[in-house]
Structures are given as C-alpha cells and as structure tokens.
C-alpha cells in the first residue's frame, strides 16, 4: 500500500446515449506503484482512454463516473478520492501533480498562443514561480531538456511552425514543468511516424527517470508496451482481462484474448502464410452480455464462460487473469 501512488478501485464509467446509460468502463481496478510505468493496452472502444481521463477529470460531458473510486496517494499516507473532488480542488491538485500528454500533437496546442506561454501557463496558475521572468527561464531550460533546438527562439514561435515530433516534445515539456508525480500519456506516439515514435518513447522514459515520476501509458500498440512499460493491463470491452509484468506477459500470455492479439500482429522476419486472427467482431457496446465478454470469439471456451462472469484469479505470482479456462 505504501508505495502505491494511485489506486483505481472498481471504476465504472457510463455514457448517456439516447436516454440510456451504457457502461463503457465496468469495474476496473488499477494500481500504479511509485516510479513505475504502467501500460493500459487494448483495442479502440475498450475504455482505456476513458479510464485514464477519469484520473484528472477531463471526461467528456456525456460520460459520468457511476461507481468506484480514484484514490490518490500524492503525499505519503494521505488518500484523496479524485472522483469526488469539486472541479476547483480537482484542477488545483491535478494541474500541479499530474501531467498529461495527448494523442494529436496537431490539435492539442492552442494555435493562437505562443509555445512559451502555453508551457509556462501551469507554473503561473499554481504559483510555483514568483514572476513571469522565472517562469520563462524554467520553460526555456525544459524546452532544451526535451530536445528542442534553439529554445529561446522556439519560446516565441507558434504551434503551426513546428513539426509533429517537435510539438509532442513541447507537450511533454508542458506536462512535466510542474514536476508532477504522475504522467498520463494517452496514445502519445500513435499519430507520429515510426522514427519519431522511437525518440518520443525514449524521451518519456528519460523524463520519468529524471523526475522519478510514475506513468500510465495508454496504447493499442504492443511494441510500445514492450519498449517502455513495467506492468501491463490488457483491457477488452471495459474490463481488465489480464494484468502482470511486461516480461511475463510476452513470455506466457494466459488469457485467450491476449494470445489472439499477440498472434495477429505481423512481425519483421518470418510470417506465416495467413495471420492467426480472432474470429468475429467486437460486439455492440450497449448489448448486455451474461457470461464473459470474450466468450463468443474465444477459441478455448467452456459452458461456464457463456453463463457466468469469470472472476479475476492469480494463476501465477503477480499474474492475474479474468478467465475460467486459463
């Protein structure tokens, strides 16, 4: 308990669609240990991004947290439930202690505002500096640290004058400037080319080590998980299907969905004639499913899978799976 920075307990998020509340995230439990990078992996629509957005409260207006808690252990042995905070307090706490990097560098920066003022804005809001001059100096130092050439010049330039990779570096600087305890990266490299992706992933790792930050990385790319995460949670249809260390996940994936996912990724070097695929499609979000969400598409399913929701079981030490047959 002591070294857990953030604990998400039985989190349920529902969206109001055509008058009906449909659950997108169904009872998710996540623990983020101090100084570790946790990966949240899953395909689109599995609720991974929604889960992350409940932490610093930037859920879209249509989504509501209907159950569970987001317990923040910023300073030792205190516990605040971020889901129950007022907007004022939530912004105060999250703005300074939780940094976030978004997916689309093209649109995540205000096109009408200079880079410098956007990055230093958080410092001024949370009064971590005495005056603008100090904020400017700190910003330029950080822009240099994240690898932006001629930071003084770039301080005054506008977002449209930078490339996608540069803008993502600015986003990282912006997220890290208040020296937060937790960094949330929502698909940080999905919109970038593979060469720049490698550099940004290295930069995120470096920043986490330099500022001893823990991080949550949301992605659908197993390669990204392998490269920078310590622990990984596999999500499907709003539930955690499997969670363990990254090493063990790739050595012995236990849940049929994880195995199917890994098998369907084309690799460099030898590939089979046809890729192994998971049959069928992701079911309609609104439909209520009695048994395990994956039972219709599961290769080694049993009777129980169709009628009884599997509970999370610890098959091996620190390796949890939500499946009857694993």
């Amino acid at each position: 308990m002591s070294n857990t920075l953030l604990e998400i307990k039985n989190l349920t998020v529902s969206v109001e669609k055509a008058g009906r509340l449909t659950a997108i995230v169904k009872g998710v439990d996540i623990k983020v240990p101090q100084g570790k990078i946790v990966g949240l992996v899953g395909e689109s629509g599995c609720g991974k991004s929604m889960t992350a957005k409940t932490i610093n409260g930037i859920l879209p207006t249509a989504a509501k947290i209907t159950d569970g808690a987001v317990l923040w252990h910023g300073n030792p042995n205190t516990e605040t439930d971020l889901a129950r905070l007022s907007e004022q307090k939530l912004r105060k706490l999250c703005g300074s202690q939780i940094g976030m990097v978004f997916q689309e560098p093209m649109t995540s920066l205000n096109p009408m505002m200079r880079i410098g003022s956007q990055v230093s804005e958080a410092l001024l809001i949370h009064k971590l500096v005495q005056n603008k001059k100090e904020a400017r100096a700190k910003t330029i130092r950080l822009l240099d640290e994240v690898g932006i050439p001629e930071p003084e010049l770039r301080y005054r330039s506008f977002p449209h004058e930078l490339s996608g990779g540069m803008r993502q570096r600015v986003m990282i600087a912006m997220a890290v400037i208040c020296e937060p305890k937790l960094l949330i990266a929502d698909e940080p490299t999905t919109a970038l080319d593979v060469t720049i992706e490698a550099q940004i992933l290295k930069l995120i790792k470096k920043m986490c080590d330099a500022y001893s930050m823990s991080a949550i990385v949301i992605t659908h790319n197993m390669g990204v998980v392998a490269q920078i995460c310590d622990y990984v949670y596999v999500m499907y249809m709003g539930r955690i299907m499997e969670r363990t260390t990254v090493k063990r996940l790739f050595e012995r994936p236990l849940h049929p969905y994880t195995r199917g996912l890994l098998a369907s990724i084309p690799r460099i070097g030898k590939n089979p004639e046809y890729l192994q695929t998971i049959p069928g499609n992701i079911p309609e979000i609104g439909k209520e499913i009695v048994g395990c969400e994956f039972c219709l598409r599961c290769s080694d399913d049993e009777r129980a899978c169709f009628f009884e929701k599997p509970m999370e079981r610890e098959i091996e030490e620190g390796h949890f799976v939500r499946c009857h047959t694993a």
Partner: protein, 263 residues
C-alpha cells in the same frame, strides 16, 4: 513474374505553397509493377507515396513523366480515351468512414460500379453479383439494406473491397487500407486481401507506413523518402540486409514485439 502491368518513368509532381515556392511531393520516380505481384510503397507521412499512387491511377495529374498500363501509354490520354483503363484498376481507401457514401445503402454502394459500366442489363443479375461479392468479402446478406454508419471499421473496409473488385480489375491499389484499423481487425483484412489476390489473380500496389504489415503482405518493397525512391528489393532481401541508410534507420526504430509468432 510475367510482363510488367504498370511502368512509371521519371514522375515529377510538386504543389504550390504560396509566394511562388513549390513543395516537391514526387521527384523523378521510376518503378515497375509486375502482373500478379504485391508491390509495397513504404515510407513516413509526407514522403509522397499516396501522391504517387494517385498519379498512377491518374486521379491526380503528374507534372511530368510517363505511365504505361499493360504496355499502353496512359499518361497522355484524354479523359474519354483513358476511361476504359479506369475499369482495370481500382482503389481501397484508408479511412473506412469517409470511403462510403453515408446516404447510400450497401447494396447500392457495391452496385454503383456495375451500373456505371452497364455490366448487367437487369436488376436481378446486378443483385446476384452484389450478393456474390458480399460473400467473397465474408459479409452476411443482411448487410444489403443497411447504411454504412451501422458497421464497424473492419466491416466498412470489407464493403470498400467488395466495391473495388466488382469490376474485376487487374490492379488493386490499397492506400493505407489497414492503418486505421485495430490489430485484430487489421489481421482479418490483410488475410482477406491476400486470399482475394490469389483467387482473382490481382496485382496489388500496397501503400503503408507500417513495415511489419508490409513484411507480411508484400512480395517486393519500395522505400520512399522526401518524394524519392531510395531502395527497392524483394521483401526477405530488404529485411535481411537493408542497403540504404534510411531503410536501416526505419527498421531499427520499430518497437519490437517480443515472443515468437503465435505463442
């Protein structure tokens, strides 16, 4: 590898970007695509691969250069003379949502090429062919009467493929056709493309930025950078020992997924 289906020589294309300056999208590119092969055009965004593909299909006009289709020069032809060649090459697009007209039912979307070329003279035969095409892309017949927004990304891509093969083209151009899809759906579509290529004896020009996908689907690979072709090789040859510096750099940047194929 019998004769070349597509030959392109010295293709140039640049776009004006204000104040007289022009951005060179494609610089002096020459390539051949042989019948029955899958040639991949791979490179990062902005390297000109999509522009080149659209030039070969004459959806965008090149500034200069010659294009030959199955031996005949098609680069200079006027609209009416070029139209017969339109039938022989078709395209599958990247964004499933924008590639299907939201206002048309699936049966009309797939039937549109058949009606445009008056392949069949009565409705029943058209409907029959549409059903056959739906079956080839593994979609149920219930899809006929529904609108595109009632389908998932993968299913929309299948409808796009059915439309593309309706006219039995010789060349299928896939412009980042799996990039917008999730991994599991991507695998299904890649398998479908490979199966159809074999069954229908298609040649395929596959545009992508994802080297792993290209490694699975392509026979030969052209690596593009800044509008130029920097390396062309057989797939195994390219991945085993890449010659060009940029190709090496590309390959080294891919976040490797550990563990052997299919645990």
């Amino acid at each position: 590898m019998d004769g070349a289906l597509i030959i392109a020589k010295g293709i140039h294309k640049s776009y004006p970007i204000g104040r007289g300056k022009r951005h060179p999208a494609v610089k002096d590119v020459s390539l051949e695509l042989y019948k029955g092969e899958t040639l991949a055009l791979v490179g990062e965004s902005g390297c000109g691969k999509s522009t080149l593909a659209r030039i070969l299909m004459r959806l965008t006009e090149a500034d200069s250069g010659e294009i030959y289709f199955d031996g005949d020069q098609i680069s200079g032809l006027a609209g009416r003379d070029f139209r017969p060649y339109r039938r022989r090459m078709q395209m599958v697009f990247q964004d499933p949502a924008s590639s299907l007209d939201p206002r048309m039912k699936v049966k009309d979307i797939i039937a549109e090429p058949l009606k445009t070329w008056h392949i069949f003279d009565n409705k029943a035969e058209i409907l029959e062919r549409v059903k056959e095409l739906l079956d080839m892309v593994e979609l149920k017949e219930s899809a006929l009467e529904r609108y595109p927004h009632q389908f998932s990304g993968g299913q929309k891509q299948r409808i796009g493929i059915a439309r593309a093969i309706a006219l039995e083209p010789e060349l299928l151009v896939c412009d980042e056709s799996v990039s917008a899809l999730d991994v599991s759906v991507q695998a299904q579509i890649l398998n479908l493309l490979k199966k159809l290529k074999g069954e229908l004896g298609l040649s395929c020009l596959f545009i992508s930025h994802d080297l792993s996908v290209v490694n699975f689907i392509a026979d030969r690979v052209c690596v593009m950078r800044g509008g130029m072709l920097c390396e062309t090789a057989e797939t195994e040859e390219l991945y085993a020992n890449p010659r060009h510096e940029y190709t090496k750099y590309l390959l080294s940047s891919i976040p490797v997924v550990p563990g052997m194929q299919g645990a």
